[in-house]
């Protein structure tokens, strides 16, 4: 590169060439421009220094917190409230369900007891029947034999009735007897045949009865089946009662857990914000600044986020749950937790930052 130019003072010679009015105008413009330029440059310089100072200050300060105004319609609060209502509804449903289960268990227990009470009666009845059969079975068998013998004899007699009937027909044809007599005699023959048939039926029934009394017949099997059904039903009831009892225990535990969760949730700032009637103030504290966040610590609000600080309240409580937030100055993602503040001045809640414990710059 070559030569640098002359300094501003070197313009005098050229300026002489300009008409004096124009020269005056230029002087005025230049003066205004220079005043403006000096102000702007000092403002830029002040801005840069202030900016650098703020950056440095927040890089090393460990007592700031960022106030957060939670709205009643805040998404997290609403979500929290919705989940709380859902949990409470679930508890109610579980309670109803548990009551039903309890009732069912009681019913089944009663039914089982009733079934089990039938068992000895059935056993007694079976024994009584066996004993009776043992007593009456042989007698009945003897009578059955006697009946069979009688029927054989009756059969022999009935074999002769055909001959008697033929004789009656002959006598009628010969006119030895009247038709009326013949009919009477034939009716008597039919009665005798009917009686014989009835006797055979009685014999068969008797044989059946003997069979029932002396062997395990179908009736006994029916009774045994009933007994087995009774026992099976009792066992099923046992299983059902057991399952219901376990389900009841599980639901009871679930209710306890939900109650515990609700109890914890009620300590959340979002619940407090959603449920509380009065305005509550919260602030985000990054983990780096947690030593300054203790219950009862003073809270300071400052001008320009660092100077001219005044006490505006105290830390009320600290919420243990982790929160993510954006650094109010650096705009980076940071982790920390929320605290509740007791503020004397609501305006402090609108500040970008507040300071915990002490004034950051001693004034």
């Amino acid at each position: 590169m070559a030569t640098p130019p002359v300094k501003v003072t070197a313009r005098v010679a050229d300026a002489k060439k300009w008409p004096s009015l124009q020269s005056l105008q230029y002087k005025l413009v230049l003066t205004l421009y220079r005043v403006f330029a000096v102000v702007i440059l000092y403002a830029v310089l002040a801005g840069i220094l202030a900016y650098a100072f703020v950056m440095g200050f927040y890089a090393i300060n460990t007592s700031w917190a960022a106030p957060i105004i939670l709205s009643a319609v805040d998404e997290k609060s609403l979500d929290f409230r919705e989940k709380l209502v859902t949990s409470q509804q679930t508890i109610e449903d579980l309670k109803v369900d548990s009551a039903k289960l309890q009732s069912g268990i009681e019913e089944m227990t009663k039914h089982r007891a009733a079934l089990l009470a039938l068992e000895p009666e059935l056993q007694t009845a079976i024994a009584r029947e066996k004993k009776h059969n043992l007593a009456t079975g042989p007698t009945l068998a003897a009578l059955d034999k006697q009946k069979q013998t009688d029927n054989v004899k009756t059969q022999a007699v009935l074999a002769q009735l055909n001959e008697v009937e033929a004789n009656i027909q002959k006598d009628l044809a010969a006119g030895l007897i009247t038709k009326g007599d013949a009919a009477t005699q034939l009716a008597a023959l039919n009665q005798a045949q009917g009686a014989a048939t009835d006797s055979k039926i009685a014999e068969l029934l008797l044989t059946d009865s003997v069979l029932d009394k002396t062997t395990n017949g179908t009736t006994s099997l029916d009774v045994l089946e009933k007994q087995a059904e009774l026992r099976s039903e009792a066992a099923q009831l046992d299983v059902a009662i057991n399952v219901s009892q376990k389900q009841l225990q599980e639901e009871t535990r679930q209710i306890d857990r939900l109650k515990q969760a609700i109890s914890t949730a009620k300590q959340s700032p979002y619940y407090l914000n959603a449920a509380g009637g009065q305005r509550l103030y919260f602030a985000f504290v990054p983990y780096d600044n947690q030593t300054a966040a203790v219950a009862g610590a003073a809270i300071y609000d400052c001008l320009l986020n660092m100077i001219g600080c005044r006490k505006v309240g105290t830390v009320n409580q600290i919420f243990p749950g982790e929160e993510d937030a954006i650094h109010p100055i650096f705009k980076t993602a940071i982790r920390g937790y929320l605290i509740q503040m007791n503020l004397e001045s609501a305006e402090a809640a609108k500040s970008k930052t507040v300071f915990l414990g002490r004034k950051p710059l001693l004034f």
Binding site: M1, A2, T3, P4, P5, V6, K7, V8, T9, A10, R11, V12, A13, D14, A15, W18, Q22, S23, Y26, K27, V29, L30, Y33, R34, F36, A37, V38, I40, L41, V44, I48, Y51, M55, I329, F330, K331, T332
Partner: protein, 411 residues
């Protein structure tokens, strides 16, 4: 709405810059018409004007490099004009005059410190040549530089031709490494689309050739340049290029015409140099806006876009950086800008090493520091330039403040 508009303008500026670089690559590789038709048989008489201020021995080395030029010695001369240096620069000029007798060297001295632009005009008073080449007194010139420049004037509508400026000291430090990459990419890529339309918006004053009649036509405007009565002596190269274009001539940069300059190797000198350049850009921007209709009707759209968007980009960059620092102070510290700079630096370093070994960088990754520099540059240079438009201080070579009134005097 305002931030969106800012970002839109910023994105547009960046997009056009990126497109220009991309076009530079495409044109360089695929379009021979980008290059001017040179006629090496065309050998006009040439005056090499060398204004000088406080250069010391460097001026001797500069004249020495010109004396080794392959251009016919009877057809060129060196006119060295000292602008009242407070060191021994003039003595070195006289020594060069004695030592390099193979060429004609005229030595002159201003009666009063006049600034570079007026010193060039003063030197021109001693010239009768057809082509005037203005050079910087701290550069070293390639023997073919004059021949290359004059060969471009074979195209009759070409008014001004510039050469490529290389960095002599790329490995002095991080600052010079960054500048080496920026210089190389600017000449070899960014200005190629402008070359294509023969409408380069700023030919470097390090090596600036112009037709005599054109310079004579512009000379009164150069001498009359002032800012509310304060003479303007900075950015004469940009002004000359601009005036060449407005007078209907073409401008071109011949990358085969080489010269080497020593770039600032300290932050303070670089800052002052960049501030001076930024001031020139802003001044040129105001001039463009003032005569915008004339520009729109006369100049190639590519030229108008460059003349408007380059300074507008600088102004918008300031606002964007302020917005960015306010909204997301650490965004600049993220990995993306650094990785981008490192990537660009690595690629361009490789290209430089391959095609211009003299400028090869020892530490290509030094370009990563450009992220910090671009932030400082965007944030400080533009407001400082806007608020110091009345400053006539060159900034980088002043050894004392001359108190003599300005005059168009020659020695």
């Amino acid at each position: 709405m305002a931030p969106i508009l800012l970002w839109l303008v910023m994105v547009l500026c960046l997009l056009i810059t990126a497109v220009k670089y991309l076009m530079g690559v495409i044109l360089k590789v695929s379009f021979p018409s980008t290059k001017i038709k040179k006629d090496y048989s065309y050998e006009p008489s040439v005056s090499v004007l060398m204004p000088c201020f406080n250069e010391g021995k460097t001026v001797y080395e500069t004249i020495e490099s010109i004396s080794k030029s392959n251009y016919p010695s009877e057809k060129f001369e060196v006119i060295a004009q000292d602008d009242c240096s407070v060191d021994d620069s003039y003595e070195w000029i006289l020594k060069a005059q004695r030592d390099f007798t193979n060429i004609r060297i005229s030595a002159g001295r201003n009666e009063a410190n006049s600034g570079k632009a007026r010193t060039v005009c003063n030197a021109m008073q001693h010239s009768t040549a057809e082509v005037i080449i203005s050079i910087d007194s701290d550069c070293i010139f390639h023997p073919e530089a004059i021949r290359e420049l004059t060969a471009c004037f074979a195209e009759p509508h070409i008014g001004s031709v510039g050469g490529r400026v290389g960095v002599r000291n790329p490995n002095d430090g991080v600052i010079t490494a960054i500048q080496a990459i920026l210089y190389y990419s600017a000449f070899q890529l960014y200005k190629i689309p402008e070359n294509w339309t023969r409408s380069v918006c700023c030919i470097s004053g390090c090596l600036f050739a112009i037709r005599r009649e054109l310079l004579l036509e512009i000379e009164p405007a150069i001498r009359a340049r002032n800012w509310f009565g304060i003479p303007v002596n900075q950015g004469e190269d940009r002004f000359l290029t601009h005036q060449t274009l407005l007078r209907g001539y073409g401008t071109y940069i011949d990358n085969d015409a080489l010269c080497w300059t020593t770039v600032p190797n300290t932050l303070s000198v670089l800052f002052k140099q960049q501030l001076r350049w930024r001031r020139s850009i802003v001044r040129d921007f105001f001039y463009t806006l003032k005569t915008l209709p004339q520009h729109v009707w006369k100049l190639h759209p590519n030229t108008v876009l460059t003349l408007v968007l380059t300074p507008l980009g600088a102004i918008v960059a300031l606002l964007v950086v302020v917005t960015m620092l306010t909204a997301d102070p650490l965004s600049w510290a993220g990995p993306v800008p650094l990785i981008t700079a490192l990537g660009v630096g690595a690629v361009l370093s490789w290209v430089i090493k391959k095609y211009s070994a003299k400028e090869a960088l020892a530490h290509p990754l030094a370009f990563g520091a450009y992220v910090a520099w671009s932030l400082v540059s965007s944030l400080l240079l533009t407001p400082l330039a806007l608020c110091t438009m009345d400053s006539a201080d060159w900034g980088t070579r002043t050894k004392q403040e001359p108190e003599v009134p300005l005059g168009n005097t020659t020695g």
